[in-house]
């Protein structure tokens, strides 16, 4: 067995807390699972050879300052550093209807909430999800009462530093007809493995605006997951932005467990250097009358590799579903690679489903056109690259976040060597 995994398992066996019974199931599962290799379909394009000489690091000492606020955004901030929550929840004044507790000190009532979500939304086939089950010492339980509108966005920031991994778990219950915005911002410069998995149980007629920003440094290895369950008439609008890791893999599951649900899921990946990014998304339509709109766009420069696997699964009962998935890539370097696989698996006939995928480069004609109007080549390239992702930026419901992102993304183009 892989040495790193061995250490994960040993760590899990030595851990004793109120989640231990649930963790034990994941441990057992990990024992029976193969270490992911390229002949397993879901790991076909992503190699984990980088784990060969790795050891598990579990030093949780603080060695960094958290990143600044998102300008213009008044948010409830919760900060993890190297996997441990550094925000004092006791001093936080939270709006009515919102309860937040840490995994280390969890009131009994919230333990019950957590027990109903932990691994109930996240499917058990995610290898690093199981690893996170075992390693996530700390985390958050965010519980929103029915019929409450939490106006302030909740921002969960996670930092990892100095070769320490950061492993946390986020469990969210959104009561019926409640409304909330949750931002998961994961940043770090660690040359180590971080995992963060989040599970959202979204009640009837609830609305969730969700962001996951996976912005790691070049040495980081990052494994993330966002898993959503939607009840009748629930709505989800989720945006994922990923760049920076030497190796990153994100698994997203959106399960329509109720009728008349709506999900919108957008992803942007901007890759340069030797970055490797792998997104596997699965949309499950289990009930009728749901809609899904998924758009993933990526720009790949230098020696970077992008992997996209987007599955839409329409179950027998999910009549009148409308689901669309689109993956578009700009491959801008001879040394880069894109592997994309949109999938449809459909068992109901009265549905409208479509997917599309493209891989291309910047059109020479468009570049010529801009330059013929006096715009310098480099500037024209920024415009064209940004134009490619503009639609997804426009789709971001929170304008402060969109404005905060724009310069960040534009400055990525330089690093990616695509301009």
């Amino acid at each position: 067995m892989n040495q790193w995994l061995q250490q994960v398992i040993e760590h899990g066996q030595s851990c004793d807390d109120w989640l231990s019974p649930l963790r034990a199931q994941s441990l057992a599962k990990l024992h029976t699972m193969d270490w992911p290799h390229r002949r397993i379909e879901r790991w076909k394009y992503t190699s984990l050879n980088a784990f060969d000489d790795l050891t598990l690091n579990r030093d949780t000492a603080v060695k960094t300052a958290p990143p600044g606020a998102i300008e213009g955004l008044d948010s409830i901030d919760l900060v993890f550093i190297n996997g441990i929550l550094h925000t004092d929840l006791k001093t936080q004044v939270l709006p009515k209807g919102l309860r937040i507790s840490g995994l280390l000190e969890t009131p009994k009532s919230e333990q019950d909430v957590a027990n109903n979500i932990f691994n109930k939304v996240k499917p058990e086939h995610h290898f690093f999800g199981l690893v996170n089950d075992v390693l996530a010492q700390d985390g958050l339980i965010i519980d929103i009462e029915a019929n409450t509108n939490i106006a302030k966005p909740i921002r969960v920031v996670s930092m990892s530093t100095d070769k320490q991994g950061s492993h946390q778990r986020i469990l969210v219950r959104v009561g019926a007809n409640a409304k909330v915005t949750i931002i998961e911002q994961e940043q770090g410069d660690a040359a180590s493995v971080s995992t963060c998995f989040a599970e959202y149980d979204i009640g009837k007629e609830a609305y969730v605006e969700h962001y996951r920003f996976a912005m790691q440094s070049a040495e980081a290895m990052y494994f993330g997951g966002c898993h959503f369950s939607l009840q009748d008439h629930a709505q989800l609008n989720s945006t994922l932005i990923a760049y920076g890791s030497a190796l990153s893999r994100i698994d997203v599951d959106i399960v329509h467990n109720g009728q008349y649900t709506q999900a919108k899921f957008n992803t942007l990946y901007l890759l340069g250097q030797s970055e490797h990014f792998d997104l596997h998304s699965t949309i499950e339509h289990a009930m009728p009358n749901g809609t899904t709109e998924e758009n993933a766009r990526g720009i790949i420069g230098d020696k970077a590799k992008a992997v996209f696997n987007g599955r839409i699964h329409i179950h027998r009962d999910a009549q009148k579903t409308r689901a669309e998935l689109n993956n578009r890539n700009l491959l801008l370097s001879r040394r880069g690679q894109v592997n994309t696989k949109p999938e449809l698996e459909i068992y109901a006939d009265d549905v409208q489903c479509a997917h599309g995928a493209t891989i291309a480069e910047i059109e020479e004609d468009a570049l010529y056109y801009l330059r013929s109007r006096g715009i310098a080549r480099a500037e024209a390239l920024v415009m064209l690259n940004f134009g490619f992702i503009q639609q997804l930026i426009n789709d971001i419901p929170n304008k402060h976040i969109a404005q905060w992102l724009e310069p960040k993304l534009k400055s990525r183009f330089v690093k990616m060597q695509v301009i």
């Binding site: 379909e41 027998r316 009549q319 890539n329 491959l331 801008l332 370097s333 001879r334 880069g336 690679q337 894109v338 592997n339 994309t340 696989k341 949109p342 999938e343 449809l344 698996e345 459909i346 068992y347 109901a348 006939d349 009265d350 549905v351 409208q352 489903c353 479509a354 997917h355 599309g356 995928a357 493209t358 891989i359 291309a360 480069e361």
Partner: protein, 478 residues
């Protein structure tokens, strides 16, 4: 509406009869001895026996693939007979007059009377009856043009250099589980050679038919188109109705040298099994062509039969400016399962490929498109366009799309689109309001859905394919 669909789906298999011909058949089972006997029966040279044995030993180390969207119980490879030859073949017929009349009647029932075809259609037919090529018509006329069209078993003796050079050159012996098995035990198939600059004067056609009980059919086809040549090849497949599942594991290799063009069309109507999924052909086929500079290979397939279809006719676009095309209609009904598609491997500069796939699912069937488009690092300026459309008839079937798209070249452009639709009540209403019955309406809508593919088929085949679809859909409509 769905009730009417069911009615149409309960249509009987027209080609399901058994010919009463004495045949020589090996006992079931597979080992090196069986392979040696196959080889000896065909009087094969030593190198070919060695080639087979090498493939067999390789096969023993391989595992049956399970990645396809197919559910079936494991195949017992020791329960299959690997050789069956009609007895009357011992003395090969020199002309059609010498052919066993019962055999000819079989073809007639299938709708391909050789005499008529000779006279009317001008199609040369290399009919494979179980494992041995029976008779080849029009051979002389073809040979005048320098075209060689004969059973591959004969080509082994007459053109050993060509066979040795190209056999396994596109689909290597150990390419995949079923190709390895085929390489070990293949019994016969067609061999086509088009000399440099020759445009084959007629469409070449082979009808495959599995007759003998418990016999797997392992044919091997090799088509070599020399520089600047052209050939259009038609393949039709049927099999009698049996309760047991029969295995069919063919290999087809196409070689299109510089500026050559090969058009390969298939209408596959193997026995699909009964309404409950009992019986039917397991069709595990490896088809692949290689295109050299400026060459073009075009695969067109209409797949309506078989209990299981596992088939990915592919193109290796090795030469600069070469072109690959794949046009497919796959219809599944009852408990049929299809996992079919193509691979377009772009290696050369400015290579182009087009994929048009139309899947129609009815009854309790599952129909999957699975394809790969690979843009290699040197495929500057390569282009691919893929369109996969699925049509669902009824609410108990499945339609699936699994495209793999890989690019390593920024100047290559790949576009993939897939959609799913159903025959809508509005469409049916309109047709009925205009006086069409439901069955005619559905068949019209389905035909329209498949038009892009049918127009790629040679004329006679297009008509046949349309009819086949109509027959297959009978009763599946409401």
């Amino acid at each position: 509406m769905s009730e009417q669909i069911e009615q149409v789906l309960s249509q009987k298999y027209d080609a399901g009869f058994v010919s009463d011909i004495e045949s020589e058949t090996f006992a079931v089972g597979l080992d090196e001895d069986v392979i040696k006997r196959i080889s000896a029966n065909k009087g094969e040279p030593e190198w070919l026996l060695e080639w087979r044995l090498h493939a067999y030993r390789n096969w023993l180390t391989m595992e049956e693939p399970d990645w396809a969207h197919l559910a079936y119980s494991k195949i017992d490879f020791q329960a299959i007979s690997y050789y069956s030859s009609p007895k009357s073949m011992k003395d090969k017929p020199k002309s059609l007059d010498e052919v066993d009349p019962e055999l000819l009647r079989t073809y007639e029932k299938l709708g391909i009377p050789l005499h008529e075809q000779q006279m009317l259609a001008g199609v040369a037919v290399d009919a494979v009856f179980d494992s041995v090529s029976v008779v080849t018509t029009f051979r002389e006329k073809l040979e005048e043009a320098g075209v060689i069209f004969c059973p591959i078993s004969e080509a082994v003796h007459r053109f050993p250099a060509l066979v040795k050079k190209y056999l396994g050159s596109v689909v290597p012996r150990g390419d995949n589980y079923f190709a390895a098995l085929n390489s070990a035990v293949f019994t016969d198939g067609s061999f086509v050679y088009i000399p440099k600059g020759v445009r084959c004067p007629m469409e070449l056609s082979t009808y495959f038919r599995i007759n003998e009980q418990n016999t797997g059919q392992f044919e091997r086809t090799l088509i070599i188109a020399e520089e600047q040549s052209y050939v259009s090849y038609l393949e039709g497949c049927t099999a009698p109705q049996r309760d047991e599942n029969q295995l069919h594991a063919a290999v087809v290799e196409l070689i299109a040298l510089d500026n050559a063009q090969i058009k390969y069309s298939t209408v596959q109507n193997w026995y699909p099994g009964d309404e409950n999924g009992k019986g039917g052909i397991y069709n595990f086929v490896t088809k692949r062509g290689i295109c050299h500079t400026n060459a073009k290979i075009s695969w067109t397939q209409v797949e309506t039969g078989s209990a299981i279809t596992w088939k990915y006719p592919s193109c290796i676009l090795k030469g600069d400016n070469s072109v690959g095309e794949f046009y497919s209609v796959a219809l599944t009904r009852a408990k049929q399962q299809a996992d079919t598609g193509t691979k377009m491997i772009h290696l050369g500069k400015n290579t182009k490929s087009t994929i048009i796939s139309k899947g129609i699912s009815a009854g309790n069937s599952n129909n999957a498109y699975r394809g790969l488009v690979h843009m290699g690092a040197k495929a500057d300026g390569a282009r691919n366009f893929t369109e996969c459309d699925s049509l669902l008839i009824g609410d108990r079937c499945g339609a699936h799309t699994f495209p793999y798209i890989e690019s390593r070249n920024p100047s290559a452009i790949v576009e993939h689109e897939a959609t799913t639709s159903k025959v809508s009540d509005e469409q049916l209403f309109l047709c009925k309001q205009r006086g069409l019955d439901a069955e005619k309406a559905v068949s019209m809508i389905v035909n329209g859905f498949c038009k892009e593919v049918f127009k790629e088929l040679p004329m006679e085949f297009a008509v046949e394919a349309g009819k086949l679809l109509e027959i297959s859909l009978e009763g599946s409509v409401g």
